[in-house]
Subunit: 679 residues, 2 copies
């Protein structure tokens, strides 16, 4: 067979002398010849070791076979491609190539039970850039590196060159690397304006190091892959969220100001509120992680992990929540999918058989760092319903308007689950299951759009079920890979694959190995936070080693001013959040999303567009009074000086309190933006 075959209007299969080519709307995606096969299969024997959410994963690939020989067969509305490692040999793997809802769908069927490794090459160009793969903290454009996709702790330091990383590795095996993330996803977006999604929850590794192809490795034969093209990046992210789902809007109350992360009990909250309100701070809520109690470990302050009001820690909280709400200040708490062994929830869950088991049939205990927990088994429908009930009764009914829905990355690979599916396959699925538990609890309580829960863990499908991402536990420093800066590529990458609402702990979280949060870092982080969907502070894991928002008058006044900036911007932010809910266009966007002709924008990862009309270039280094910003060609106005710019690299004054922010002169919101100069 030879010549061109159009399966449908979009998908085009070209039969070549010794192979074939598959294109979608003119974009060549798969190229196969005997000399350059696009598919390899084989067998590997992995070892996976977890230490407190950090994984040591090794693979011993015993076989990897090129499937050089293809036989293409026409079917109704589809093509079947049989692949073999030999001419006229037995089919080892079959592909069904078809169009489905304007997407190219490639389904896979393996004919050899021994196959547990799969490497597919997607055609690439030298100049091509790729983005996505979940939330990537070190590299927005992933070209030139490979990205293991396995949900885990993101690492402390995340750069083997730094002292903090080295110490974290030595002490806790926790240093991490550029690719470690709470939220991986086997989905990427190419600058050739297509997305590619692999439907799998197995361990995967997407390798973007080669010039002529991207090699997608999966530790199973995936069910299928999807490709979709678009004319613009906006249309592309719209299509991505058309596939994965879109987030609801944020609650109205979020726009009232900053959410203050406070711990220590009712009195402390009261005192701090009084103090900040007197300073004119706009406060939308208080977020008290320790509403359910706390414990002290060598890592720092940790929580009790028994998900209900801790009356001794927060006396009269039931009354206070209502009182604060009357004053437009909401109360937010904390939960995660584990129950600590000392708590009554653990006892109840264990009695009812709701916890995951070990291979001996006993409750599997996970080490979270000097304390142990059971894993609520979300593959057990009754357990899931029970946990939703815990959320509804203990949190929603109690009056909480939001919470951190923490963790989700720790499912051990040797745990025994109710559904009997290998935990290696369920591991990556867990974050989305955890998100869904929250989503259903909230929606069943009729509170979608009124409650906000924020998560760091994610995987395919999180788009629909997670109301807001937070960037995870950054180190309280200026490091590119784990400090303030890292949050920006995190927001941009997750936004590219459909999670358009992102924010981070103002000030960062992890203070270890001598790393302490400075006042300046806290202030710069707050400046950035004012230009994200939600502002929220965090005390950090070791509050005494972290400068706090009420550490001195200047910092208090700075945060108060930034909360006013945020509130001033709120109508605009709300419109962006609405656009995200409706079309899936992220609130924080890479510059190329609106300036795709400008090649320079494709490698910018420490600036972002805040909607179409605002450009933000957070100061992410210490001791800066001015900052260099790249502006794509347009008419820009610097918000603090009113000065006009037309594009290119410009240096602006950027003292504390005045982050480099610009708006488009032609924006319909320009009047609103022009108010910032007066704050």
């Amino acid at each position: 067979m030879s010549g061109t075959l159009n399966v449908t209007k979009g998908v085009n299969v070209e039969i070549l002398q010794d192979g074939f080519e598959v294109a979608l709307n003119g974009v060549v995606l798969l190229q196969h010849t005997i000399q350059k096969p696009m598919l390899f299969v084989g067998h590997g024997e992995e070892t996976i070791e977890m230490y407190r959410g950090n994984f040591d994963i090794k693979d011993y690939v015993t076989e990897r076979t090129a499937l050089r020989y293809a036989n293409v067969e026409e079917m109704e509305g589809a093509y079947k491609i049989d692949l073999s490692n030999l001419k006229n040999g037995d089919t080892m793997l079959s592909l069904i190539v078809k169009e489905e809802e304007n997407r190219l769908k490639v389904e896979y069927q393996k004919n050899d039970a021994n196959i547990n490794r799969f490497w597919l090459r997607v055609a690439a160009d030298k100049q091509e850039k790729v983005y996505g793969c979940g939330e990537q903290l070190s590299h927005f454009n992933m070209r030139g590196k490979n990205f293991p996709l396995w949900t885990s702790e993101p690492g402390v330091g995340r750069n083997k060159q730094t002292y903090v990383t080295w110490q974290a590795d030595v002490v806790d095996k926790a240093g991490g690397d550029y690719y470690n993330t709470n939220f991986p996803q086997p989905t990427y977006v190419s600058s050739k304006k297509y997305y590619c999604h692999v439907e799998t929850t197995a361990y995967a590794d997407f390798d973007f190091r080669n010039e002529a192809f991207h090699e997608l490795q999966v530790w199973e034969v995936p069910k299928y892959m999807l490709f979709e093209t678009a004319d613009t990046y906006l249309e592309l992210v719209e299509k991505i969220t058309g596939l994965f789902g879109r987030q609801p809007e944020l609650p109205e109350w979020v726009y009232n100001g900053v959410v203050l992360g406070i711990q220590g009990g009712t009195d402390v909250v009261e005192q701090k509120l009084e103090k900040v309100l007197a300073k004119g701070m706009k406060v939308s809520g208080v977020w008290c992680q320790d509403w359910q109690g706390k414990r002290i470990t060598s890592f720092g302050k940790r929580l009790m992990w028994n998900w209900k009001w801790n009356e001794s820690e927060y006396p009269e909280l039931d009354k206070k929540i209502a009182e604060w709400k009357e004053n437009d200040i909401r109360f937010l708490g904390y939960i995660n999918p584990y129950v600590a062994i000392e708590g009554d929830l653990y006892k109840e869950a264990e009695d009812k058989g709701y916890l995951a088991l070990n291979t001996e049939g006993n409750t599997y205990l996970v080490d979270f760092g000097e304390f142990y927990c059971g894993v609520v088994d979300f593959t057990n429908e009754e357990a899931t319903e029970w946990y939703k009930q815990v959320i509804k009764e203990n949190m929603i009914d109690f009056g909480l308007d939001g919470w951190m829905a923490d963790f989700g990355e720790y499912l051990p690979t040797d745990v025994v689950l109710k559904n009997r599916i290998d935990a290696k396959i369920m591991h990556n699925a867990w974050p989305t299951m955890w998100a869904k538990v929250n989503y259903e609890a909230v929606s069943e309580a009729g509170k979608l759009g009124e409650i906000v829960y924020f998560m760091r863990a994610g995987y395919t499908g999180i788009q629909k079920y997670c109301t807001l991402l937070w960037g995870g536990d950054q180190s309280v420093d200026w490091s590119l890979d784990d400090g303030l800066a890292s949050v920006i590529p995190a927001a941009l990458s997750s936004g590219m694959i459909g999670c358009g609402l992102h924010h981070s702990d103002i000030g960062g979280y992890t203070s270890l190995h001598g790393n302490k949060r400075s006042k300046e870092l806290l202030m710069r982080w707050a400046e950035m936070g004012a230009f994200t969907p939600m502002m929220r502070t965090h005390e950090g894991n070791r509050p005494d080693d972290c400068f706090q928002f009420d550490g001195d008058e200047e910092t208090l006044e700075h945060l108060a001013r930034m909360s006013n900036v945020y509130v001033t911007m709120a109508p605009y932010i709300k419109s962006l959040v609405e656009e995200n809910a409706r079309r899936g266009i992220p609130v924080q966007r890479p510059l190329f999303m609106h300036y795709e002709e400008d090649e320079k924008t494709y490698d910018i990862q420490y600036q972002y567009l805040f909607g179409e009309d605002v450009l933000v270039a957070p100061v992410h280094q210490e001791n800066q009074t001015e900052w260099e910003v790249y502006l794509p060609e347009d008419q820009w106005v610097h918000v603090w000086s009113g000065e006009a710019y037309t594009g290119g690299s410009v240096t602006v004054q950027a003292p504390l309190g005045y982050p480099p922010v610009f708006y488009r002169k032609k924006s319909i919101w320009s009047e609103l933006f022009s108010k910032l100069i007066h704050i």
Copy 2:
């Protein structure tokens, strides 16, 4: 075909239902079935980057195919085994199995030009231990780890957990790991009492992590492999050196005392000699690296690398050498296979076309750390003869009685050589070629057995051509992987594969990243040095950061005493060196070599037998006054107290100056050993 076929008396090929088995003298070495194939071939694309002798090597294995299907054919005195990945498929690789000089020889022929990766599995038992693979500094028994075999700098620190390693990595990419070594070799010895040698100089990686097999990876199809068995370990090392060759004896003068590493010129040597001789130190020689001049770099004191007497640095050296020799003190120098760009040797070699080229046809310059050198091309016979002449004229004729023949590990993989063989294949061959240059220069001058040169780099064949190994550049610390202790497994492993003469820099060498040599370290190292074939001190790379042998009176007296211990032991040591020259039995031996029934001895790597009759357990930790020693069952006498022991774990007093050393009561040398108590 089925049943048993004896190729010859020793080699036995058993034809199985779906495979075959090859044994030598009853030891099953190769086992092959369709389900558990013993051979895999494939294709890889490597990237090799060198930075000052440290290599970053990555492999992208695109294909790895199990050769499951075997066809065994009888030939004259041999069996031919054709292997295919398919039943009745084309032969991808053929094996010729035969017996040659009582060895099992397996030759390989590839039928597919695309194959550049080769993985062979040798049958293994769970309890089996393996040793050798060149000079291994971290692990004597290699079971449980894999060992890349590529000559390189061994690393500074060699353990990612240590600060020194981390800093060395960050600053110079030089931290290294447990397997990095100047002297790798694709040869190992099994506790099943066989050796296995792979004939190749390509990159290799021997993987001893699996229970049922050892997987030997080679980046080419090797020419052949050899196996040989023996009844005892002594017989086995004798057979190994029967294959690779044996070292000549050390010169007589070596036994006169310690060789003092001194730098700084004639006057400094004179002054130091006067001082130490007055203390009663026994001195056999002075070793002046900087006899050919020096330079200062950020690393420390470096040499000029223009191999001839530097008269301004060493005035009247020509006369002094003769004068010292009359007083039984020899002069030793330094050379390596590179010529610095500033020197006249470089100019001469470049003019004559003796230097290796880059791909543009110009002289290839290698960065040795703030200075550049040409590579004398030993694949060019004229260049080799010229360099031998340099050694003969500038060193031997000038009166040198020994030298450090440094380096050999730095051949860049992109260098163009006269013989046009890929430098990736020549890289591992280089150390032995360099050794051969020295060997031939010395033997052609009629000085074999009178001159000693010591090397750190090695590879297959070094056994015959290197008169003495030194352990390379240890860090001046107590670390197991790179300090004093590391020298012991280094001596044991190289001894197992036929390099029976080993010694090390007393005090270690590398002082970087805050690491400074303490007085105690120097003293402990000297104690160990007295129980090695040759005692030699080193100032270190940063002499001012290293405590020196003349740093104070106590240290001087300690070294003087140790030199007397060495001289007292000399007749015994000489007999061991003679045994090594005659039979290839190493001077430093693992305990199991004489106590093979004692299972505990197989994992002891920080003690050694010094010949059959002396057991040495160097104190390799700081601040020790006593030391625990394991003694195999025998009648032992503690040399310093005369106390008798019969075996087991014993703790002895081990203050400075009294290293834990024992001798066999029944030894014919016991009278000699009993003299030590009086020193």
